[in-house]
């Protein structure tokens, strides 16, 4: 057989196969049960929604709720010799993290977990306030500006996400370290300092830099939605620009502020890398303590109890916040 013949036979084979596959698929798709199922789904919108949402819910159930349930169970078990988990129900873990070294009457709290949890909430609060102060103006500007560079500026806000977190924190080590930029510049003005690395300032600075976009973007979003006419009519009725901002723009941008604050607060309180890399000995946060209990001490039950308490505290705080602000409003319309 010549080469040409060979090739012709090959292509004939291929088209034959293609045709077969095509026929098979149309056959399957046009089969009565398949058609009927598609039609049924199309007709019943609620079922369709359930299927679509179900995928997400199933994902959460398998990868979030199930591990959480396991952690909850683990938190009531005990650590045996060498870090073995002993499946014996007891409240000892909760007792040790909540009640040990706590004297309520004199308000003396020497409990490491509570102190570190308190410290985490404090860092979370400081970070939230700072990002709000620093983030409102850029968010407001981006929301109001008619500049043709707006998309470019928005891109700049999210640009830091392209650099891995750990590299950004390491950069801060260089900036704030002994011979870093901050010390050098302060030295020029005649201020002697050993740098701010390994202090509370360093932790909050690092967190603010990393979490700022989470504040700017929701504020931008809600400011952009404010109808210009509201502000204009306030001004027409004699309000100064400052008063128009205070009475119209600010209240209308509140959902953005709340959303940003909640995002930043949750992410900051649970931060692990910032205190580990930028913090000093006294600046541990709850994630560091949990990781240390889990790893170094190999006490999985105690670490689980710590995680559960942390979760409950955070959940309570957000619920209280919700009472005042109304989260449905924030994340809804």
């Amino acid at each position: 057989m010549s080469e040409r013949h060979q090739r012709a036979a090959d292509s004939a084979d291929r088209t034959g196969f293609e045709r077969y596959r095509y026929r098979l698929w149309t056959g399957v798709l046009r089969a009565e049960p398949v058609l009927r199922a598609i039609q049924a789904l199309k007709r019943r919108e609620r079922l369709l929604t359930a299927v679509q949402a179900g995928l997400g819910i199933a994902w959460m159930a398998v990868f979030l709720l199930a591990p959480l349930a396991y952690i909850l169970a683990l938190s009531f078990w005990q650590r045996g010799a060498g870090g073995v988990v002993v499946q014996e129900f007891a409240l000892a873990n909760y007792q040790s993290i909540l009640l040990e070294d706590v004297q309520l009457l004199g308000w003396q709290i020497g409990n490491v977990y509570l102190l570190i949890l308190w410290q985490s909430l404090k860092f979370g609060f400081l970070t939230t306030v700072t990002t709000l102060l620093l983030g409102y103006v850029p968010g407001y500007f981006l929301g109001r500006t008619q500049s043709k560079y707006r998309s470019l500026l928005l891109l700049l806000v999210v640009l830091p996400f392209w650099v891995p977190l750990i590299i950004r924190y390491y950069a801060w080590i260089l900036v704030m370290g002994n011979e870093g930029m901050v010390t050098t510049i302060l030295g020029w003005v005649g201020v002697e300092s050993g740098g701010f690395l390994y202090t509370e300032v360093a932790v909050v600075t690092g967190l603010v830099q990393v979490l700022l976009p989470f504040m700017i973007l929701p504020i931008y979003n809600s400011v952009a939605k404010i109808d210009d006419e509201f502000v204009e009519s306030a001004k027409t009725m004699g309000a100064t620009p400052l008063r128009a901002f205070y009475e119209v723009t600010l209240p209308l941008s509140l959902p953005g502020i709340s959303a940003g604050s909640i995002l930043v607060f949750i992410l900051a309180v649970g931060s692990f890398m910032a205190p580990a890399l930028l913090g000093g000995p006294a600046n541990s946060m709850v994630a560091n303590l949990i990781s240390q209990t889990f790893g170094e001490s190999f006490d999985w039950p105690l670490a689980s109890a710590m995680a559960i308490v942390y979760l409950v505290v955070l959940f309570t705080l957000i619920t209280v916040f919700n009472r005042f602000v109304g989260l449905e409003e924030v994340f809804g319309e």
Partner: protein, 419 residues
């Protein structure tokens, strides 16, 4: 230096631990055998094995071949017999350690035995153990716990005993390591030490005057306030502090007469020293950063990291073992639970203990080998111990297990200024 490695081993033979010795051994060998074969008869044999040798605690001098071979016969059937597998799943430290192992151990081993070694790596001992614990049996063949992690690994049943009969080169191991039995696992050996080192003193000669031998007391001088960095694990802190107070760190009594009073003295000293500490490091990367950018000029560290910094041109950084001695550590190979390639893993250990392998591997790693292999390069390493490991001070892992809850929480309090 009198509290050498064999001293530590002697501790675990002490009167008060004998009973726990035998009971834990019985439990372990039972679990091992059941886990490996599931056969009731084998389980019974395991019980008998454990209890019959339980009263003979004095066998920790290395003459344990008889019961080891008994272990061999009960477990061989489940582990694929005495033949080489095609692959070996190897889980080691990452970074420069992994590079050195690949070049000097894994590639030559693959060439000689025709086995493909599939590598994965970890950056923290704790995460590695957690990973092995939560993975299905047989996910790994050879893992790399440190001596201090091996206690937990054994207690949690994460490792299989090594059948010394299959490791012809076992006798190359330094006697101190042959005797060391961190988990008091009786006659069973679960870890094969590969190299050792210390947590010694690091100093910047631009800022620290004087020359070795230094005392650990140097790290309590207020002139280094804000420029001191120390390893951030409570068990290393209490150990080193006890050394500097002239106490035996595995008894922690000194002249106080009791552990409670002794440890209080140690905590007091730690709290005093804490005032000068700028940062407690927990990784090699962290200590490198701290010393190289002058944030710290004095503290402790690992010789291999300082050696690497010296090679990068930091001539002012030095590593020394203070006169009181230093915390000794070793990284080891162990066979992961449920490994189906135990025999191949054992041949891998056998290969690793060859003198020529150690002679090329050890200088690249920067740490002296746990075997008797030696060369001028090895002798030049900062941690090299001419006495064959006798000088090294290891932590008694049972002692640590007993007290580390308290050590951890007190150290946290010290760090928070609440002690």
């Amino acid at each position: 230096m009198d509290d050498a490695l064999d001293g530590t081993g002697g501790n675990s033979d002490g009167d008060h631990t004998t009973s726990t010795d035998s009971s834990s051994r019985g439990r372990l060998s039972r679990r091992r055998v059941i886990g490996a074969s599931g056969a009731a008869i084998a389980g019974l044999a395991g019980c008998l094995d454990g209890s019959s040798s339980g009263d003979g605690t004095e066998t920790s001098d290395g003459s344990d071949d008889t019961s080891e071979s008994a272990g061999t016969t009960t477990t061989t059937s489940s582990s694929g017999g005495q033949e080489m597998a095609d692959t070996l799943k190897f889980y080691s430290w990452g970074g420069s350690t992994q590079e050195a192992l690949t070049e000097h151990l894994i590639e030559p081993f693959e060439d000689e035995y025709g086995v493909t070694v599939e590598q994965s790596s970890f950056s923290s001992q704790d995460k590695m153990l957690a990973n092995v614990r939560s993975s299905p049996d047989g996910s790994y063949d050879v893992i790399m716990p440190s001596l201090s992690g091996s206690y937990n690994a054994v207690k949690q049943g994460l490792v299989e005993p090594i059948r010394l009969d299959n490791v012809d080169t076992w006798s190359n191991l330094l006697p101190a390591f042959q005797e060391y039995n961190s988990a008091a696992s009786g006659d069973d050996h679960y870890v094969a030490p590969l190299y050792y080192g210390t947590v010694g003193m690091v100093y910047n000669s631009d800022e620290v005057s004087g020359s070795p031998p230094f005392s650990w007391q140097e790290t309590w001088k207020d002139q280094y306030s804000g420029a001191l960095t120390l390893e951030g694990f409570a068990f290393v802190r209490v150990f080193t502090t006890a050394l500097s107070l002239g106490m035996d760190p595995n008894v922690m009594e000194g002249d106080t007469g009791s552990y409670e009073k002794g440890i209080e003295k140690v905590y007091d000293a730690m709290a005093e020293q804490h005032e000068y500490v700028t940062k407690y490091w927990t990784s090699g990367q962290e200590q490198t950063t701290l010393y190289s950018n002058d944030t710290a000029v004095l503290g402790d560290g690992w010789s291999g990291r300082i050696l690497a910094l010296q090679e990068d041109g930091y001539d002012n950084l030095h590593y020394t073992i203070p006169e009181e001695g230093a915390f000794g550590w070793a990284d080891t190979f162990a066979i992961a639970k449920g490994s189906e390639r135990r025999y191949t893993a054992e041949k891998f250990l056998q290969y690793a203990y060859r003198p020529e392998v150690q002679e090329s591997l050890s200088p690249t790693l920067g740490y002296p080998p746990a075997t008797q292999a030696t060369s001028s390069d090895i002798e030049a390493l900062p941690d090299f111990d001419p006495s064959g490991g006798e000088r090294l001070k290891f932590q008694n892992q049972q002692f640590k297990e007993e007290h580390q809850d308290d050590w951890n929480s007190t150290f946290e309090k010290i760090k928070l200024g609440q002690y």
